[in-house]
């Protein structure tokens, strides 16, 4: 195959990579998108955000049906056809993935299927099914993402030990499921399997679940999980794992230091994600990596190699699709000679558990650890009419505020639909809104969005639907 030259080559077609490729093409660049998977969209679309949300939606239906009994509505116990559920989930993935391919074609972005390997700072070898394709480029954007970590001790070569990738394929509904790691992936997928009928045990080495978020926001999720999961165990480690017939034998050690032997039908390992930096040929470039393998970048997404940019999970930081997409814009704008930066950009985080958890900007915990003086205003959802009509008073909206300027520095929400509500928080922080700005913007009634306005009113002590002593004039 003759070598190809392109202005920009993008490695990896996830939400960072395809966003970068499309944006660069929209700015008139000649773009080549290299993806080893035949389906575009990356982890997010094929093995992450999208399929998990499809399953979570299905799972929620089951739990909501069950919970409606006290409202006088009962259904028979759900009949679950896994093949159909999987097919429906896959149809969503396929639709979105082919949508990405279609958009690439529309923009004239050339897609090359194969694994890319840097031969130098401006050349790439792509192993395609048809053979080697050499590519020279002006600039490269590395967006190869991350994959689920599977520590050696857990890698039994047994399909009953799953990472999130396999868990999303729902081959079966295990009777007993052990989830190792109480982060967002473990909690989300644990919820799915719990709703489908598995008895779920979560073990977490740290003292709680979702440790990045403020504890008051995590509490409702923990409560709900305690009710729906068989057990949550903290300060607990899995010390042994082995195959025992059709079961997985595990030994855990909890805070009491007593070893506990158990047998599970399946185990989900969700202990974090690692960068897909292996076998990229980065050693042939000037790109530098940190000790964990993430590529070092500056706030313009430039690596140590002047021809190579890195975005998304491979560039470290929070591993979120929308962070990758934002970095895609920054990288492309920098290449186009614009003054762009990812510094100070507010990246919201959402955990799609039941109830949902979302936050953005400064958390209360972060303020404390950094010694930033803040004031916090909270509005409990028990006082929200809309939350009660959803039968979900287990929510909380809170604002983290700079008392001097009254600027909103952080927003945290736990509760039904928190993932949708957080966008207003992002806008507020990005716009430099003050608490008063939020309090004076009329929010529609009855909606959950009112909780943002009312938490702002709590700050001044005049929230209509809750009583808080007056603190600010």
């Amino acid at each position: 195959m003759d070598p190809i030259h392109t202005e920009i080559v993008v490695l990896g077609a996830g939400p960072g990579g395809y966003a970068a490729a499309f944006y660069a093409a929209d700015l008139g660049k000649k773009v080549l998108l290299v993806e080893q998977d035949k389906k575009l969209g990356g982890v997010c679309l094929n093995r992450g955000c999208i399929p998990s949300k499809a399953l979570l939606y299905a799972a929620k239906l089951i739990s909501e049906a069950r919970e409606s009994a006290h409202r006088g509505i009962t259904f028979g116990s759900p009949q679950i056809e896994l093949d159909k559920l999987r097919a429906w989930k896959n149809s969503i993935v396929d639709k979105l993935s082919s949508g990405v391919s279609f958009l690439a074609k529309k923009r004239g972005v050339q897609v090359l299927t194969g694994r890319g390997y840097f031969e130098g700072s401006q050349s790439l070898r792509v192993e395609t099914p048809e053979g080697q394709q050499f590519v020279t480029f002006d600039k490269a954007i590395v967006a190869v993402g991350s994959k689920a970590a599977l520590p050696k001790a857990f890698d039994l070569g047994n399909p009953r030990v799953m990472t999130s990738t396999e868990a999303l394929e729902i081959e079966e509904i295990p009777e007993d499921l052990l989830v190792i790691g109480g982060g967002y992936i473990g909690m989300e997928l644990g919820s799915v399997y719990a709703s489908l009928g598995s008895k779920v045990v979560v073990v977490e080495a740290l003292p709680g679940i979702l440790t990045g978020a403020d504890p008051d926001l995590v509490r409702p999720i923990q409560k709900y999980a305690e009710k729906n999961f068989r057990e949550l165990r903290f300060n607990t480690k899995v010390t042994q794992m082995s195959t025992k017939g059709k079961k997985i034998r595990t030994v855990t050690i909890g805070p009491d230091k007593v070893e506990k032997e158990e047998f599970y039908d399946r185990v989900l390992v969700s202990v974090g994600r690692v960068p897909r930096c292996g076998d990229l040929g980065l050693e042939n470039t000037k790109v530098e990596q940190d000790e964990r393998g993430f590529i070092k970048v500056n706030e313009k997404q430039e690596t140590a190699d002047p021809f190579i940019f890195a975005i998304g999970d491979i560039a470290g930081g929070v591993l979120l699709a929308h962070k990758a997409s934002k970095e895609a814009r920054v990288a492309v704008e920098t290449i186009a000679g614009e003054e762009s930066t990812s510094a100070g950009v507010i990246i919201p985080a959402v955990v799609f558990t039941d109830p949902e958890l979302a936050w953005c900007g400064l958390t209360e915990g972060e303020a404390k650890s950094k010694g930033i003086t803040v004031e916090v205003a909270k509005f409990p959802w028990g006082a929200s009419g809309r939350a009660l009509t959803y039968d979900r008073p287990d929510g909380l909206t809170k604002l983290v505020v700079d008392p001097e300027t009254e600027r909103v520095l952080g927003v945290g929400i736990v509760g039904h639909g928190a993932g949708e509500l957080i966008a207003e928080g992002v806008l507020a922080i990005e716009m430099g809104a003050t608490v008063r700005d939020l309090a004076e913007s009329v929010h529609p009634h009855p909606t959950l969005s009112e909780t943002l306005m009312e938490s702002a009113e709590v700050y001044y002590g005049f929230s209509t639907h809750t009583y808080a002593p007056k603190k600010h004039e």
Binding site: E338, E339, D402, M431, A433, T434
Partner: protein, 425 residues
């Protein structure tokens, strides 16, 4: 990509476009002059920070533009990509002199003088405003937001830019002296006494006019005259001319003058100062950057030869030739016109005797050299024909007293008369 007006340094943040040196569709090289910009200091070309094809010109002759403003759009296409797309220069050099607080007692109602030191987190503003600030090179911390929580909105940015423009438009003379340029003189119809031709003042002429008037109006200037016997020096020059030519340098009287002046300045540092009346300080510069008045077709331009004290006569001769050629070809950069500490104006090449040079602000002294001429001089009781160089030292009497000037002159004359041949290498 757009090429933007780069930081100009030394407190200059805007200027007027005098001419446009490239055309749409033209392919330009990195470093090539794209426009000529007139600032309060000079007229100088602005070099392209990247190569490519000009797709669109974004400024017109006469436009007033500020640092960070796009000048033209470039299609970077053809040229091979250079490493790390031209990093913006490390934000404008720190200013040495604080702008004078205009009038202290009325500071309250006057528009607040530009706060120089800014630190701390950025104030609240929308992403749109922040992007615009990045593109224009504006530090948002210098802007006072008027909305809740000090939030900066578009109107605040606009007000800030307008203020910058007003500041840029004011002559930076310090003090609230009435601006004489504003006194529109009575319009006279010269044609009633005979035929006339009107030619527009070139932008450079306007700059010269403004700067000369500023110097004339602010500096109590004294000019000290003397003559130096350069008979021996001239012999030295002739003797070494060929050797220098072989090394690719032209040995001229100005080369000697640079060396001698630099050494004399070291002995008399007050001639290497600037004064800051508002701050009540005299700024002694520990570097010796000598400005050389160059006569060009368009008018007088004064490029600066750096660190004259650290260079030997050969290096000075080469540098001198380089900057003179660059200046005549109008390829000198704004950077090379700034930072001078003392100026030499040598009219000897053209002719003439003593004259009274005008001080090149913010310097405090200037040396004018005339043409060396044979004169009858009394030496050891005998009249001898000697080659005498007319010298005129103008100095700012605010900083320098007559005695100091006389002593400076004596050392300077001695420098010319006792120049050591060893210094020619």
């Amino acid at each position: 990509m757009d090429l933007k007006l780069p930081p100009l340094g030394e407190g200059v943040d805007s200027g007027s476009v005098v001419s446009i040196l490239v055309k749409e569709g033209e392919t330009i090289q990195k470093g090539q002059g794209i426009i000529e910009l007139e600032t309060g200091k000079a007229v100088a070309p602005v070099p392209a920070s990247a190569a490519g094809k000009v797709t669109k010109l974004l400024v017109a002759v006469g436009d007033k533009i500020s640092v960070g403003q796009p000048i033209l759009s470039l299609e970077a296409g053809a040229a091979p990509a250079k490493p790390a797309a031209a990093k913006p220069a490390p934000a404008a050099a720190p200013r040495t002199s604080k702008p004078a607080p205009v009038q202290e007692e009325t500071a309250d109602d006057a528009p607040e003088a530009e706060e120089e030191e800014v630190s701390g987190p950025e104030p609240a503003s929308s992403p749109t405003i922040r992007r615009m600030a990045r593109e224009l090179g504006i530090d948002l911390r210098k802007i006072r937001g008027t909305e809740n929580g000090g939030r900066i909105v578009m109107a605040d940015v606009r007000a800030y830019i307008e203020r910058l423009q007003r500041l840029a438009a004011q002559p930076r003379s310090g003090g609230s002296a009435s601006t004489p340029a504003k006194l529109a003189p009575e319009k006279i119809d010269f044609a009633k006494w005979g035929p006339i031709a009107k030619r527009p003042m070139t932008p450079l002429r306007k700059v010269i006019a403004q700067r000369m008037a500023e110097s004339w109006n602010t500096v109590p200037r004294v000019t000290q005259f003397d003559e130096a016997d350069i008979t021996a020096l001239n012999d030295l020059r002739k003797k070494h001319t060929d050797a220098y030519e072989k090394k690719g340098a032209r040995l001229t009287l100005t080369s000697f003058a640079l060396k001698i002046v630099a050494e004399t300045l070291k002995k008399h540092p007050v001639f290497n100062t600037s004064i800051d009346l508002a701050g009540g300080e005299v700024i002694y510069k520990e570097y010796f950057h000598i400005g050389i008045a160059v006569d060009t077709e368009q008018g007088l331009i004064v490029p600066v030869l750096r660190d004259a004290d650290k260079k030997d006569v050969l290096a000075l001769s080469k540098d001198l030739n380089d900057i003179a050629v660059k200046t005549r070809d109008r390829k000198i950069s704004l950077e090379e016109l700034q930072g001078g500490t003392f100026t030499i104006s040598n009219q000897g090449g053209i002719g003439g005797g003593h004259f009274t040079p005008i001080i090149n602000l913010p310097e405090t002294a200037i040396l004018g050299l005339g043409r060396g001429a044979m004169k009858a001089v009394v030496r050891d009781g005998k009249i001898e024909p000697r080659l005498m160089l007319p010298m005129a030292l103008s100095y700012d009497h605010r900083a320098i007293d007559g005695g100091a000037a006389a002593r400076f002159m004596i050392d300077l004359v001695r420098g010319f008369e006792t120049f050591d041949e060893k210094q020619l290498g």
